[in-house]
């Protein structure tokens, strides 16, 4: 492609690289990206408003579906806030079970990410193998909670399902398999040269930029920003467990990969600890239907970063206000920064590298692009194409008719 004249490429809302309807408008100079506008909001459903019209119990299931991949994170963050407002003291066993599911969810999410990352750089074999092994943890979650995704485990005042002894054995067995497999992926990720070539040096965010742009989760930790709510603001059972915050100083996609793989290993040890010291006792306490007036802020370290939930009750069955801040919103600020002067080929992996979960992000918001027209209709794309030809000397104006697909020739 001649480097004369910039071309605008709309990526999404429907695009193979994005499993979710989001739209990035890349301004290309040849293969180089010189500007990127992002538009979210295709997933904007208006959940926060809907919560105010639903009872707390119904809200749990609605909030859980803010995002399907980190469903447990959102529902836990929500019920934590509600329980704090209601002043409920939870049985420790319930807290441990929440932690257990949370860590299993992290495992499934990170394995999923590894596969998607492989897919984005055309390494489908990695996708196939990681997702094959991910089924182990999916089965585990299914047998523990009753569903592969959207577990519906949390309820106000505890958890709905207990963990039996033989299930504990299952868990330990599965964790052993997964750990061994993960070790293998570590070697692949650190030695497969075509992989490293595509990952290292891509999507760089320096430590200072990461702090300034308020990145969270693995994205921040890969720029050696030590942020992990599990340690900074312990919830559930994390106060009583020991784990270390995995960071990396690569600052790039490769670093994010290493961080996630490292966190997988941490999660395995955490799960083992939880299973080992899980206290006995009830898993739930009676919770009132009416939650007293009051407010609470709840933070939760989701696989993608920090979830922030704010709940205010007004003594009725329905919340007065529910506010959700999903990790991707904090991170999406960084993406445009990462993509500057990168190749089009890197776009997919860079966007994937923050492990975007736009459906969380969009539960209420939609980021307008940083300047410029955001997403182009096909007509606009064509207009661009033709304009761009004229600049390179060819005139196709007479062909610039509106785009109609229906006709069969």
């Amino acid at each position: 492609m001649p480097n004369s004249g910039h071309i605008k490429v709309p990526i999404g809302p429907q695009h193979p690289a994005l499993k979710e309807p989001e739209s990035f408008l890349l301004t290309l100079d040849g293969e180089k990206i010189i500007h990127m506008g992002v538009r979210l909001g295709y997933n904007h459903r208006g959940i926060e408003k809907a919560c105010e019209a639903r009872s707390y119990i119904q809200c749990i299931y609605l909030i859980e579906r803010v995002c399907g991949i980190c469903s447990h994170s959102h529902s836990t963050a929500f019920v934590q806030a509600v329980e704090e407002v209601a002043g409920l003291e939870l049985p420790r066993r319930a807290l441990y079970i929440r932690t257990l599911i949370g860590e299993l969810e992290r495992i499934h999410s990170h394995l999923l990410w590894l596969g998607v990352a492989g897919h984005e750089i055309g390494f489908d074999t990695l996708l196939m193998y990681t997702w094959r092994d991910r089924e182990v943890v999916m089965d585990l979650l299914a047998s523990l909670t009753g569903n592969r995704v959207n577990y519906g485990l949390n309820t106000i005042g505890g958890v709905r399902r207990d963990v039996s002894e033989e299930q504990k054995q299952e868990i330990l067995k599965a964790i052993d398999i997964l750990e061994e497999r993960t070790k293998y992926y570590v070697t692949v990720a650190t030695e497969e040269i075509t992989l490293i070539q595509r990952l290292s040096g891509v999507g760089v965010v320096s430590h200072d930029d990461a702090v300034r742009l308020a990145a969270v989760g693995p994205t921040a930790r890969a720029s050696s920003v030590e942020r992990d709510v599990r340690r900074d603001d312990p919830y559930a059972a994390y106060g009583e467990l020991d784990f270390k915050v995995v960071t990396s100083d690569h600052n790039d996609v490769y670093g994010r990969t290493l961080v996630r793989v490292g966190e997988l290993m941490e999660s395995f040890s955490l799960v083992r600890q939880v299973v080992k010291n899980m206290p006995d006792g009830p898993v739930t306490i009676k919770a009132p239907r009416k939650i007293p007036a009051g407010e609470a802020l709840s933070r939760y370290e989701a696989p993608r970063g920090e979830d922030v939930h704010y709940v205010r009750g007004n003594g009725s069955e329905k919340p007065e206000r529910v506010k959700v801040r999903a990790p991707t919103l904090a991170n999406v600020q960084a993406v445009a920064h990462m993509l500057k002067d990168r190749y089009l080929a890197d776009m997919a992996i860079v966007v994937a590298a923050i492990d975007p979960c736009f459906s969380c992000t969009d539960r209420l918001i939609s980021v307008a692009g940083a300047g410029g027209r955001d997403i182009m209709t096909w007509d606009q794309v064509r207009a661009h194409g033709i304009e761009w030809y004229r600049r390179s000397g060819v005139d196709f104006t007479e062909l610039n008719r509106t785009f109609s697909t229906g006709e069969a020739k």
């Binding site: 009872s55 119904q58 299914a142 009753g146 959207n150």
Partner: protein
């Protein structure tokens, strides 16, 4: 010099290994017993407290009074999110989440499920509602 193709051993091994693929739908693996599938309703147990309707996040279930102490359930499987909150809420265990997940249908109407109340004379021998052929 590092050579590409680190996964080669693993990959070649899978040629001789049996694929990880399940044979579904030709051979059906059993679901885990906690699985939350299609809802079953036992009319003879229902007391019409309608707690299920009250707690359902997607108002997918409706309990209709058809006679004195007789209730029937109208469940819209297209609305149900299979969270089984109603099962937990029901004080009389009149609802149960079955293992049945093969719910796909070609029309929306086919997803509406109606459990008729039994006439009280029939003893509640088995907990299955009567089998009724789909009316066409």
């Amino acid at each position: 010099m590092r050579w590409p193709g680190k996964m080669v051993r693993q990959v070649l091994f899978s040629v001789v290994r049996k694929p990880a693929t399940e044979q579904y739908p030709f051979a059906k693996a059993p679901q885990c017993e906690r699985f939350r599938g299609k809802l079953a309703f036992y009319a003879e147990k229902c007391i019409g407290c309608k707690l299920c309707m009250r707690d359902c996040p997607a108002d997918a279930i409706e309990i209709v009074k058809v006679g004195d102490k007789q209730f029937e359930a109208h469940i819209d499987m297209a609305k149900c999110i299979y969270c089984a909150q109603c099962v937990d809420s029901c004080p009389k265990k009149a609802l149960e989440a079955t293992q049945d997940y093969e719910l796909a249908q070609l029309t929306r109407e086919r997803l509406k499920l109606v459990y008729h109340a039994k006439p009280p004379v029939v003893p509640a021998a088995d907990n299955k509602p009567e089998e009724v052929a789909p009316k066409s």
